[in-house]
Point group: C2
Chain length 224, copies 2
Amino acid sequence: MLYAGFMSAAPPSAPTPPEPVDSPQLVQLGLDADEPCLRADAARNRARLLEAAAGLVAAHGADAVTMEEVAAAAGVGKGTVFRRFGDRTGLLMALLDHGEKKLQAAFLSGPPPLGPGAPPAERLRAFGRAALHRTVEDLELQLAAQPDPGRRFTVPPYRVRHHHVAMLLRQAAPDADCELLTHTLLAQLDPALVHHLIHQCGMPRQRLEDAWTDLVDRVTGTTA
Amino acid sequence: MLYAGFMSAAPPSAPTPPEPVDSPQLVQLGLDADEPCLRADAARNRARLLEAAAGLVAAHGADAVTMEEVAAAAGVGKGTVFRRFGDRTGLLMALLDHGEKKLQAAFLSGPPPLGPGAPPAERLRAFGRAALHRTVEDLELQLAAQPDPGRRFTVPPYRVRHHHVAMLLRQAAPDADCELLTHTLLAQLDPALVHHLIHQCGMPRQRLEDAWTDLVDRVTGTTA
DNA sequence: GACACAATCCGGACCGTGGTCCGCTTTGCA
DNA sequence: TGCAAAGCGGACCACGGTCCGGATTGTGTC
């Protein structure tokens, strides 16, 4: 089963490797195994780093954790962290990979209404609920892992979500500019917004879910 | 006439000054003159800094400009920059202040359909066009000025836009959760998204405008 | 198996930049 | 003219990110 992890195979890797294509659509989205035959020591260090990072984040909060601390806690040099994960965002995203994979599996090939089998508007509603749930469960980390504004929409997880929602939207609202409308829908699930609404405005999560449902209804013209 | 500049009176100012209230609604939104009786030297340095910053940004691009460079070009110490503008984002936002003020004036008290007098759905459509236009005209700076994810929704210009759109939406779509729906609409005008669509996906600006119009139609149930 | 060699990876010294701090100067008011 | 408040500025710090000489790994050869 193919997933879209947070990492590309090798972050600062060779400039345009041959890139063997299987399923063009999926490969283009960045869907690939996320540990492409690493050398033994590299793999070991990668694991150590993830473990150390997870521990530190759990202990002191995501944005109180320093790259140098992580390296030290893993018994590894600072350079190793950056070679493996590219940058701070990359490391944090790697920490979120598991959860994201699970969500992807659920809406790509899980049971309805999230997975295939239910009508598109229904799947859209389910997608919002699931994504929201996932976002809330480790909001803080998700916030800290946000890439700089220029790359928000280029990062694999976002592209996968976009691809999926756009597909559903094309069925549920054929006369709309689905490419664009999808960005708008996804904006309501943006970790930064969710954090703002819940932790700064004190909204209950249920209200966000209701708003999503309502938004889907309005946009597709359907009603649950 | 009252505006909501990018800066609060004094960024890292006293912890909760008395804050004299006039029009609670507006003050709460951060609407106030943006140069609150600065001392002579301070005002002079502020002006110098803005001028220097504008020059450097125009010359070398927004994100190639260093705070130290700006300070040097203004013939001023680094500390002065930060005291006056809080942080890098603050300085960049100050550079955008003029344009933002003009937009605010236009939709708060300008002629219809942007200003008061036109039906709400119409004003919404006009707002999108105007905001999009403004965003595009110095996208790069707008991108560089984006605050960190946690504050995107707390910054005065966003709050003013939100307040305005929410008000229109309450009239045009009374049965919706306007508070939330507004965030969703505004997301389509987000500089980061606009930049992505135009410069990375190569979409023409017209398409963004059309999408906004369509979105307003769907959300309010009206048609132009 | 032993060996040699190339590709890969390691790690910590190093750099640039955003942001802070505090002793000194300027300002404006009485 | 004196004096408090406001402002100034550059030394200083922390942290993200880079770089390159040296160590590890794995593979082809005998």
